[in-house]
């Protein structure tokens, strides 16, 4: 089997029995990173030096990619924004520190939507990220480079961040596994904040097993992140094959019932048909699955309340970007002028628009109607989810209503399909629920993803159920270009 298809455990075996060395793996990954950089643009920085601290971890000697919004001491970290294009942090994110200690080998810092604020992978200051399955198409974002380098087979895993669906959507478009554990399961210290109450750290891998292995390494209480969860005495990897019989799942009838769509929604119908076919097979394996009515009001509210909360928090979180302590210094003769100039030049248009929106939302006279109402609907949605989780073990949904769009295709943000099928993943961020996307099939030669979301702190249960889904769906370890079904 070639390097590109190998999972962490495949590589582990070879490293352990001496078939290859970690230097060789790194060199292979590095060559691939360079080879595909022009077509995919997965990396902001490729780190050409082999640096490894040996350990007993399963990740010892395994190459990986790290999203360029994680602080890495002495390595350029740009968040794919001009305002940080020369920023070399003096400190390590907790995630990076843990990966270094586990002996994993960094291949590069991956491209993202500028400041992680976007879902297309097209807004990085270094250009668009292309989908390795079809370079006419985007891979989605914001963890675009992390998804692309894993889908391409450059590295077996990459680290991403997820505020609305930034790991799970590109994973779906790239035919890989994207996992965002419970809020606080992995420390956010060193992750450049987008919207602190929604930001999660997670993994992009080519199989559920690898998601479990990497999460086992990354999880844990961090004194530098007060929201991080207490350590738990559970190894996800070891429990992947626990019995799932009798596990109950639900899906939203409003979104997933075929009768809600007309014939012209050809793509959606194709996606949903595959979805329901898979559900039938899962039922045979012991899952109990039912459709429930969540309430259209609440489902339609996900997108606007997500925008409201995330833009508001982002405006504040990025107020440190003034070019004074770090970043390119603006020009001007007064302090206001230099801050003004640095920010005017440093942010792209989309970012500025979101900041203005966020600022408007937080204005005293608008807080009640916008910011607080968004917080209220967030509670209604999360309460409803938690109520359902009293009966069910998980929510199962198509990750998207279609395959990865082509560049330039614009979605109508007010259409029902957009509101329902393209935004429900933010539920996982609203309530901090563990949520995983994995491949469920292909349409027009492009991968499709299925998403599973579970109760908070039950990351192990979600991974175990996902392992079963992966076994049933049968797309473990695929790489861009594979002949598909």
């Amino acid at each position: 089997m070639d390097y590109q298809h190998q999972t962490i455990m495949d590589l582990r075996k070879q490293l352990d029995d001496g078939t290859c060395t970690s230097e060789e793996l790194f060199q292979t990954a590095l060559d691939l990173a360079k080879k595909y950089q022009e077509s995919d643009n997965s990396f902001v920085t490729i780190t050409p030096e082999f640096k490894q601290k040996k350990s007993q971890s399963l990740l010892n000697g395994i190459p990986y990619g790290l999203k360029d919004n994680f602080s890495t001491a002495n390595i350029l970290t740009t968040a794919s924004s001009n305002i940080l294009k020369d920023y070399i942090p003096p400190y390590d994110a907790t995630v990076y520190k843990k990966l270094k200690q586990s002996g994993a080998v960094l291949v590069g810092k991956t491209t993202l939507d500028e400041l992680a604020m976007g879902g297309t992978g097209t807004t990085a200051h270094t250009g668009v990220v292309r989908n390795p399955w079809d370079e006419q198409r985007l891979i989605g974002g914001s963890s675009a480079g992390s998804a692309a380098c894993v889908a391409r087979g450059i590295v077996p895993f990459a680290i991403g961040s997820d505020t609305g669906d930034s790991i799970r959507k590109p994973a779906a478009f790239g035919g890989i596994v994207g996992f965002k554990p419970t809020y606080g399961r992995i420390s956010r210290y060193g992750l450049f904040a987008f919207a602190s109450s929604l930001d999660h750290v997670g993994t992009l891998t080519r199989c559920v097993e690898d998601a479990a292995i990497v999460t086992d390494v990354l999880k844990g209480k961090d004194p530098l992140d007060m929201t991080s969860l207490e350590n738990e005495d559970l190894n996800y990897y070891e429990h992947l094959h626990d019995d799932i019989k009798g596990r109950k799942l639900f899906y939203f009838k409003e979104t997933c019932d075929l009768e809600n769509y007309s014939a012209e929604d050809e793509e959606v119908i194709a996606v949903l048909t595959k979805f329901h076919e898979l559900l039938d097979r899962l039922r045979k394996e012991g899952f109990e699955i039912e459709g429930i009515s969540f309430g259209k009001d609440l489902l339609n509210a996900i997108y606007p309340s997500y925008m409201t909360i995330s833009c508001a928090e982002a405006t504040s979180n990025n107020a440190n970007l003034t070019g004074i302590q770090f970043g390119p210094r603006g020009e001007g003769s007064s302090i206001e002028e230099i801050m003004f100039d640095a920010r005017t030049k440093g942010f792209s248009e989309l970012i500025k628009r979101r900041f203005i929106l966020g600022s408007y939302i937080l204005q005293k006279e608008n807080q009640e109607r916008l910011f607080l109402n968004a917080g209220r609907v967030r509670r209604l949605i999360v309460d409803r989810m938690n109520k359902l989780f009293e009966t069910y073990d998980g929510l199962i949904m198509p990750a998207s209503g279609g395959i990865a769009p082509k560049f330039g295709e614009r979605s109508d943000e007010l259409s029902e399909r957009y509101l329902l099928l393209e935004n429900h993943l933010a539920l996982g961020n609203f309530g901090g629920f563990p949520s995983i996307t994995l491949p469920m099939g292909f349409l027009h030669g492009m991968p499709l993803g299925i998403n599973l979301t579970g109760r908070i702190k039950e990351d192990g249960v979600v991974l175990t159920m996902a392992q079963k889904i992966e076994d049933v769906a049968g797309y473990r370890g695929i790489v861009a270009g594979d002949q598909n079904v």
């Binding site: 919004n69 602080s71 940080l84 400190y91 956010r188 602190s196 007060m226 928090e313 107020a319 910011f371």
Partner: protein
């Protein structure tokens, strides 16, 4: 005449080992950027983790100010751009401050006054800016130091009241051990809001704000100047501009900027700090640590101990001294004696030797012991003082000194009489002056002689009585 309405916003740095939201050291430093962490610098990716001790001290101060405490700890962000604010927002408390709706009873002169506290909240200090001719320098050492802000209701009506309040507040900080509260280090700073209204008016006048005044004397000067300035304007039928003014070294205030539209700080709850419950048990534990405060002690010293207002204030000013004083009484001394000796001997010694109370050798028990001997007339007052000073100098228990030197007072009349008679016999000239020239003061000469002869152990009262008795006897004999 106008009615003066003043509200104060007092900032005070909290004494902790580390900063409010980071691990860097909380200390006053002259070396720039020496105590800075990723958090204090507002680097991308940082997260604040609040300091338990800072929260505890803010809660404690709020309790001392009779405030209501919240049921949980929550912080908020105050968003604005300024070069001394690296994150672009300050972490502070709006939703659930450490204290609300409190009051502080103070003395203005000898008058009692209740100053109402709107709220007390915990926040973080900014970086410091140093200004030069055409540039400014930023030092982040101060960035993130825990800061309490105490906001009063607009219920203060004179410079005297304002300064008395600030002194009382500073005293609370020191009594509770929450801050050194040194204005010279900028640890305690004050914003003054002042407006004037005509007697009988119900609507408040236009508010003028004066920011960041360190010294209390400057607060007084600023208020007095503003009252005069605003009165003059109003007298001439003018209107007061809503503005921010600063005070200069000349004691005058100058306009900094007129108030344009109020800044919208876009407050929202800090999402990186999940709420932490404050249990009634935890709050009680803190409350128990609060000592009896200055105001209560002054009243107690007057009412229970019969001290004058002045003496009571001197003794209650410093918690250590007040505790010492009270312990002397507990050890059995009369309050009047304890007050007089603490104010003279103890405070005098501390001043003279420039040492803190903790380094004073004489314990309250020792002092009480000496005072008891004086009360029992076993030693004289003067002797007592001498022994105390000797004890301080030799670091020796005064009771031991007394015992070793056998310096208990001679009260035996017969023994003293022998010394008196001897002195009279040896000094016929003085006796003659007393008898023939009626020089009454000669008796003091004989007291001195007896004291000399007895190593000052003779009871002076008895001695004087016996001298008069013996001299009069001789005078009577002469006349025969």
């Amino acid at each position: 005449m106008y009615k003066v309405v003043i509200g104060l916003e007092v900032h005070c740095e909290v004494k902790t080992k580390t900063k409010n939201f980071s691990n860097s050291i909380n200390t006053y430093s002259t070396v720039p950027n020496e105590h800075v962490s990723t958090v204090d610098l507002g680097l991308p990716g940082i997260l604040p983790v609040p300091n338990k001790e800072a929260v505890r001290k803010a809660l404690k101060t709020a309790m001392a100010l009779n405030c209501k405490n919240p049921d949980e700890v929550i912080f908020d962000r105050k968003n604005y751009f300024y070069p001394d604010l690296p994150k672009g927002y300050q972490i502070t408390q709006v939703t659930k401050p450490c204290g609300i709706q409190g009051y502080l009873d103070i003395f203005v002169g000898e008058e009692e006054k209740r100053v109402y506290i709107h709220q007390l909240h915990l926040e973080e200090d900014t970086a410091s800016l140093e200004h030069f001719a055409n540039y400014s320098l930023i030092d982040y050492n101060r960035s993130g130091i825990p800061l309490m802000e105490i906001v009063t209701e607009p219920c203060i009506s004179s410079a005297d009241e304002a300064v008395s309040f600030l002194e009382a507040l500073r005293n609370i900080f020191l009594y509770c051990g929450v801050s050194e509260a040194r204005s010279d280090k900028g640890q305690m700073r004050c914003d003054v809001n002042i407006s004037l209204m005509k007697e009988g008016d119900t609507k408040l006048g236009t508010k003028v704000e004066m920011k960041n005044i360190n010294a209390f004397t400057s607060v007084r000067a600023a208020i007095e100047y503003e009252i005069k300035r605003q009165s003059e304007i109003l007298d001439q039928g003018g209107t007061i501009k809503q503005e921010t003014r600063r005070i200069d070294e000349d004691g005058k205030t100058y306009s900094m900027r007129e108030k344009v539209d109020a800044i919208d700080y876009k407050y929202f709850i800090e999402p990186n700090i999940p709420p932490v419950k404050l249990t009634p048990e935890y709050l009680d534990e803190i409350r128990k640590e609060i000592p009896v405060l200055e105001f209560a002690r002054i009243k107690k010293y007057q009412n229970d101990f019969g001290l004058s207002f002045y003496d009571a204030t001197v003794l209650a000013k410093d918690r250590g001294i007040a505790d010492y004083f009270e312990e002397v009484i507990q050890e059995g001394a009369e309050p009047i004696d304890a007050a007089s000796w603490v104010m003279t001997v103890v405070l005098g010694t501390l001043n003279k030797l420039e040492i803190p109370l903790t380094e004073l050798f004489i314990t309250p028990k020792m002092l009480a012991g000496v005072l008891r001997l004086i009360r029992q007339d076993k030693i004289s007052l003067n002797h007592g003082k001498k022994i105390i000073y000797q004890a301080i100098e030799e670091k020796k228990d005064p009771l031991v000194i007394i015992e070793e030197n056998h310096i208990e007072q001679i009260k035996d009349d017969q023994l003293i009489l022998q010394h008196v008679q001897k002195a009279i016999e040896e000094n016929p000239e003085q006796v003659r002056q007393y008898i023939e020239e009626g020089k009454d003061y000669v008796k003091n000469f004989f007291v001195g002689k007896v004291m000399q002869a007895t190593n000052r152990q003779a009871d002076p009262k008895v001695t004087l009585e016996l001298i008069i008795q013996e001299l009069e006897k001789r005078k009577a004999n002469e006349g025969k």
